[in-house]
């Protein structure tokens, strides 16, 4: 008789779980499974709760959810896993910049067959990313980095320029510490010529100088999303930049936060589904991407996860109210290529500005 210790308990619990899925799912679906990565926490939970079951119902393919910390860390993980010969996920979510980076590194992503995913035609061509090997990423969902304020403490600014006003915001803002998190794009749109300002080093230096004028008003340069969340809830900051979806969720929970679309706009970035070069599940992956590109699924994600759809509102059944909770205008797109081509220069100049060195 074996003694019941933690390990055997876990093992038997595992086999019990395996047995129950075996009983529950039809035999034909057994070989049809797919490992999909998404950002952990609330985001991944919503996928597990709403999107994957709907997909399994539509296609019989079961999804094993894999937690990604974010795009960057995940790229390091996938890079190491690819050279080790075994990857943790078939499909993962890549931010556009990380996807371009993965493409430039090469050998990490497998080209996708768009003819097997007709629903991708609903999406703007901008969201289908191709390099010389073929299409390697299809848009999954978009998210906004928006201006937020605490409506109990300040009136809504109508321009990003208002953040420079120390009378209202001295030591009170929460901005991202990352050089490519959007502040430079806001500055380009507010005070300069938009993306064109990124074209040369003088433009970049001028924008970073403008950013340095903000320093006395910043109480928190956040590096993790949760820091900003806590700071807004606690009143450590009364405004700043934050994700539109999370801001709306917090607002719905009764916290004093109000996302705002200033006249220059907010930053829209998007995530793409990319297939690992080592994956043998091209067929299943194509079915999932097709499912994800369907306007009905895009609307489901907007409702349940708070992301912005990548298909026009008219193709979905989202009401104006639902749409404005996840999207807005005007839209500022990040200067993707510039951030990559000059990454060492921009990062070091930005860090110098932060450090006052």
């Amino acid at each position: 008789m074996t003694r019941l210790n933690r390990r055997t308990l876990l093992k038997s619990a595992g086999s019990a779980a395996a047995a129950s899925t075996l009983l529950a799912s039809p035999l034909i679906a057994q070989s049809r499974s797919l490992k999909i990565g998404s950002y952990g926490g609330y985001f991944e939970n919503s996928f597990k709760e709403y999107i994957y079951p709907a997909f399994a119902e539509a296609t019989g393919i079961t999804v094993q959810s894999v937690t990604q910390p974010n795009s960057n860390d995940w790229l390091v993980t996938m890079q190491q896993a690819t050279s080790a010969g075994k990857v943790p996920a078939d499909l993962s979510l890549y931010g556009r910049q990380t996807m371009i980076k993965a493409s430039r590194i090469g050998g990490l992503l497998k080209p996708l067959d768009l003819s097997a995913m007709p629903a991708t035609a609903n999406m703007g061509a901008d969201y289908l990313f191709a390099d010389k090997t073929g299409t390697i990423g299809v848009g999954a969902m978009a998210w906004f980095t928006a201006m937020v304020i605490n409506p109990d403490e300040v009136t809504a600014p109508d321009s990003w320029a208002d953040f420079w006003d120390s009378a209202n915001f001295e030591a009170s803002l929460g901005l991202s510490k990352n050089y490519n998190a959007g502040m430079l794009d806001f500055i380009a749109a507010t005070f300069f010529d938009g993306e064109a300002t990124f074209a040369n080093r003088d433009g970049i230096v001028a924008m970073i100088e403008k950013a340095s004028e903000l320093k006395p008003n910043v109480a928190l340069w956040w590096s993790a999303e949760s820091q900003m969340e806590q700071a807004m809830k606690n009143g450590d900051v009364i405004g700043g930049q934050y994700y539109l979806d999370v801001a709306n969720l917090m607002k719905a929970d009764g916290f004093p936060i109000q996302p705002i679309f200033p006249k220059e706009g907010n930053l829209q970035d998007y995530g793409s589904w990319c297939l690992s070069a080592l994956s043998e599940k091209s067929g299943e992956a194509a079915e999932f991407i097709n499912f994800s590109s369907d306007p009905a699924t895009q609307a489901l994600m907007s409702r349940k996860i708070g992301t912005a759809p990548l298909v026009p509102q008219s193709k979905t059944d989202l009401t104006d109210e639902e749409f404005s909770a996840v999207s807005g205008a005007p839209v500022i797109f990040p200067a993707y290529e510039a951030y990559l081509d000059n990454e060492t220069f921009i990062k070091e100049s930005w860090d110098k500005m932060l450090a006052g060195a």
Binding site: E170, L340, D341
Partner: protein, 329 residues
């Protein structure tokens, strides 16, 4: 009988090779020693060599990095990436803050742990054991957990600033005009006192983090301290402060110095406390290493170069400490 036992101890391969006489005990010792060296080599030297090799690598803009042989990453640590057009001491500043926080926090921890431990060794055996067990168990709290606790403690709506506001202390500070001074020091915004981000919060949390270690390091020498010496001094008319200054502290100079040094080196690598409580202008090299390796730029070679510089700095301090303590003894 003895042949049988020997045969079962000696591995089969050696049996056939040596066929007969057992391996002498001295050889066992040598094998064990070699094995130990092997383990040290694999666990300590190999990872360090790997980091060093990576630090010579080359960053490809907009992509990842490749192995190489250049010292450009080290040059960047000292003068920045745009040298010679432009020179920056950004990373040396980060190194400075690494040393600054670690030193202040280590001294603070030892200075506060010393009287505590001194009093502790005067307690009954039972009480001492209880305290030590309590302190040891507090070591199981991870850095993340401790930082989270302090984060709540120092937050505007849940911690000390709330106490300041609710008790009217904030208003009082405003009335007497000291509030403006606090704002200048970065310890207040127009509405209330704020402790995040500040050097104060960073150093306090770091000292708290290593405080149990300080007690555990100081406990053995303090409990071995010959109490007859202090008693003799007292009977000869010395007050408690004089005894502390002229008897206890001099005889414990080396353990105190050693504890500070050890905690200092340990604190050089603190990450979570610094990211949460220090503003970017005052963040450390450990944070910069992490950002380079796993952040947006995926620049592992530059992260590795910074790590090597940090390691060499720590080693220099240890060597200098060794030298000082040898001179002192």
């Amino acid at each position: 009988m003895s042949d049988v036992t020997q045969a079962s101890v000696v591995p089969r391969r050696q049996q056939s090779a040596a066929a007969g006489p057992a391996v002498p005990a001295r050889d066992h010792g040598r094998i064990l020693r070699q094995l130990l060296w092997g383990v040290i080599l694999v666990l300590c030297v190999a990872p360090f060599m790997l980091v060093f090799v990576i630090s010579l690598g080359h960053k490809i803009e907009g992509a990842s990095w490749e192995l190489g042989f250049s010292f450009e990453n080290y040059r960047r640590v000292f003068v920045g990436a745009n040298w010679p057009e432009e020179i920056t001491y950004l990373y040396l500043q980060k190194l400075y803050y690494s040393l600054y926080y670690a030193l202040i926090a280590a001294v603070l921890a030892v200075v506060t742990a010393f009287p505590f431990t001194y009093l502790l060794t005067g307690l009954s055996r039972r009480a001492q054991a209880a305290w030590l067990v309590f302190l040891l168990s507090s070591l199981s709290l991870s850095e993340v957990f401790i930082v989270m606790g302090w984060d709540v403690l120092l937050s505007n709506r849940s911690g000390l600033p709330m106490v300041f506001k609710e008790t009217g202390l904030t208003q009082w500070l405003k009335d007497v005009g000291w509030f403006g001074q606090l704002r200048e020091w970065g310890l207040a915004n127009p509405r209330n006192i704020k402790f995040k981000t500040s050097v104060l919060a960073t150093v306090l949390t770091m000292a708290y983090l290593v405080w149990p270690y300080a007690v555990i390091l100081l406990y053995p020498p303090l409990s071995r301290l010959d109490r007859t010496l202090t008693e003799a001094a007292r009977t000869m008319g010395a007050g408690p402060w004089t005894v502390m200054r002229s008897v206890v502290l001099p005889s414990l100079r080396l353990p105190i110095f050693g504890s500070v040094l050890l905690l200092f080196v340990f604190l050089l690598g603190v990450y979570v406390a610094v990211t949460v409580f220090a503003e970017p202008a005052k963040q450390t090299m450990a944070v910069s290493v992490y950002e380079a390796v796993r952040g947006n730029t995926l620049n592992a070679p530059f992260g590795a170069a910074q790590a090597v510089v940090l390691l060499i700095t720590a080693a220099l301090f240890l060597v200098a400490g060794q030298w000082l303590s040898r001179r002192g003894s």
